[in-house]
């Protein structure tokens, strides 16, 4: 319950002023300036020019080179999302079923990596994939493969490392939904004679779907705009939009084009997230009406 005070109470306005000013000044203005920058032109010798047109966007849309990178970004993000669902959703159920103290311990194992630097975690994958090739040694040792697989500089490698980085978000999302479930519903299903599998498929799964959906939106958005992991695992040849932006800014020095690419990425991520969200709301409204 809020204290409903006078309509034009100065207190909340004063309280929200510092944060409002800071964010308005240092978030909205820079973003707007970036939008303007994306309309400008650039050349190596004259720098950024004060002309305003849509040339950068025209170039992005007409050049298949950019199309390919956007497509790759979408593909890796989608595959990463699928992988996190396949690993994260069952694990969330398993974690919920655990008893103390195991549950607390494995929650730290599952969610703790969120607090570890992305660079460190990706470096771990680079070490596993790369020159020392522990993964390949293990796989060959187990007789699963004959020749070493290439993980570094491949989409497979990027997807695996990204899934590892983003997995906690999926687990959090599914667990949040699971927590709202009435635990007796599962027992009710068993009491009616359903098997474990049937109970999972008919009772648990439909109820955690909203969590999986919400998790998917977060994971997709973060995977599509991820930078550090594709940069380290993908290297120069396997560019995604974020690493392309980095290259445009720090190697080609073409800031306007880089700004256009970054904003396009932003807009696409927002559209996909909002679209999925509305789809999910329509789908699950009945469940939570």
């Amino acid at each position: 319950m809020k204290a409903l005070l006078r309509r034009l109470d100065p207190v909340p306005v004063l309280l929200s002023l510092p944060a409002g000013l800071l964010l308005g000044l240092f978030l909205l203005i820079p973003l707007a300036a970036t939008a303007i920058l994306s309309l400008q032109a650039f050349s190596l010798y004259t720098g950024i020019q004060s002309v305003f047109n849509l040339d950068n966007y025209v170039e992005i849309f007409s050049d298949g080179y950019f199309g390919e990178i956007f497509l790759r970004t979408a593909r890796t993000a989608a595959l990463t999302t699928v992988l996190t669902i396949l690993i994260g959703a069952p694990e969330a159920v398993i974690l919920m079923r655990m008893k103390a103290p195991w549950r607390g311990i494995f929650l730290l194992v599952a969610l703790g990596p969120l607090l570890i630097s992305v660079v460190s975690r990706t470096l771990g994958w680079a070490l596993l994939f790369g020159s020392t090739g522990i993964i390949n040694d293990v796989l060959i040792g187990l007789g699963l493969i004959a020749a070493p697989l290439q993980f570094m500089y491949t989409e497979t490698g990027v997807v695996i490392a990204l899934a590892h980085v983003l997995l906690p978000f999926m687990i959090i999302s599914v667990m949040t939904t699971l927590q709202r479930l009435n635990p007796l519903v599962e027992s009710a299903s068993y009491s009616l004679g359903a098997s474990g599998f049937t109970t999972f498929r008919r009772v648990i799964l439909p109820q955690v779907l909203p969590g999986i959906f919400a998790g998917s939106i977060i994971v997709f958005a973060m995977a599509a705009s991820a930078f550090a992991t594709p940069q380290i695992i993908g290297g120069r040849r396997l560019k995604v939009v974020a690493t392309l932006v980095y290259d445009e800014y720090l190697f080609s020095l073409n800031w306007p084009l880089g700004a256009a690419l970054a904003l396009l990425l932003f807009v696409i991520v927002i559209i996909v997230a909002v679209g999925f969200n509305q789809l999910a709301e329509r789908r699950f409204r009945r469940l939570y009406g």
Partner: protein, 271 residues
């Protein structure tokens, strides 16, 4: 969830734990190699790479900058988020929803977009590469985390506490100082610690805006990795991992890590 995990569930869980831990464990192991190149420490364990790290002026300098940046931005973020959270949780005012959306919006903007936006903005106002500029950008990035934690903390307070204090003659400021603040302190501190580690680890945005004198640890690590991967980066990563562990323990003690990340867990017999 009333039933317990069967054999297949536990097998899956084991693979999951291996998947999650493998890259982290590998980094830590390799940091202890006695060799001059990357390898598992099969011939004994050595601290030579940590020694090398301590003697590396650039990495040590970056570590200090990251500490300063994390502490400064987390503190500023907490200082502006406390009143903002009070306004949002305690009052209804025109534009409240818009204000909340504004405060949470940095979560929606990809870090890379923030990076390019700040790079341009700071270079136009003559602040590029400065610690102040970096701090402002990090504050904006972490405000949503701090604000959400403090809002949760404030929201779980009985609003009658405020009324009780007021009825006893307490001024709004005294009520805040004596009642609201002490009761939300664990939330504020948790938000601070979460913000600190988020800022400390940030790389995507910072790589665009850090200057030669303000290169943070993850950025330096990232630039170093672009050039070469050797046991030194494993040692740096190990330090980052250990820091994360410390933060994890603090958060767990203060607020409950699971409660912070997935909300209340009344069914958890642990607490």
């Amino acid at each position: 969830m009333s039933s317990s995990n069967g054999f297949w569930s536990l097998a899956f869980h084991t693979l999951f734990v291996i998947f999650v831990m493998a890259p982290i464990v590998v980094v830590c192991f390799m940091a202890f190699t006695p060799e001059g190149y990357l390898s598992m420490p099969t011939n004994g364990v050595s601290l030579r790479w940590f020694e090398a790290l301590l003697n590396n002026k650039e990495f040590v300098g970056s570590f200090r900058i990251s500490l300063a940046l994390g502490a400064a931005s987390a503190t500023v973020a907490a200082l502006i988020s406390i009143p903002a959270a009070m306004a949002i949780v305690r009052y209804d005012f025109p534009g409240r929803t818009a204000f909340l959306t504004l405060c949470m919006s940095p979560l929606m903007v990809p870090s890379i977009v923030l990076g390019v936006a700040f790079l341009r903005f700071f270079s136009q106002i003559g602040m590029s590469g400065t610690l102040v500029g970096l701090t402002i950008s990090h504050v904006i990035l972490i405000v949503p985390y701090v604000l959400r934690t403090i809002m949760n903390s404030l929201g779980s307070l009985d609003s009658a506490l405020d009324h009780a204090a007021a009825s006893l003659g307490s001024s709004a400021w005294r009520t805040f100082r004596r009642v609201t603040l002490p009761l939300t302190l664990p939330g504020i501190l948790s938000g601070w610690v979460l913000a600190f580690i988020t800022s400390f680890d940030e790389v995507t945005m910072t790589i665009f805006i850090s200057g030669p004198g303000t290169t943070t640890l993850p950025v330096r690590l990232m630039l170093y990795i672009e050039d070469s991967i050797d046991p030194l980066v494993a040692a740096v990563s190990t330090v980052l991992i250990v820091m994360a562990l410390v933060v994890m323990l603090i958060l767990d003690r203060l607020f409950g890590l699971d409660r912070m990340l997935i909300g209340r867990s009344p069914s958890d017999p642990d607490r």
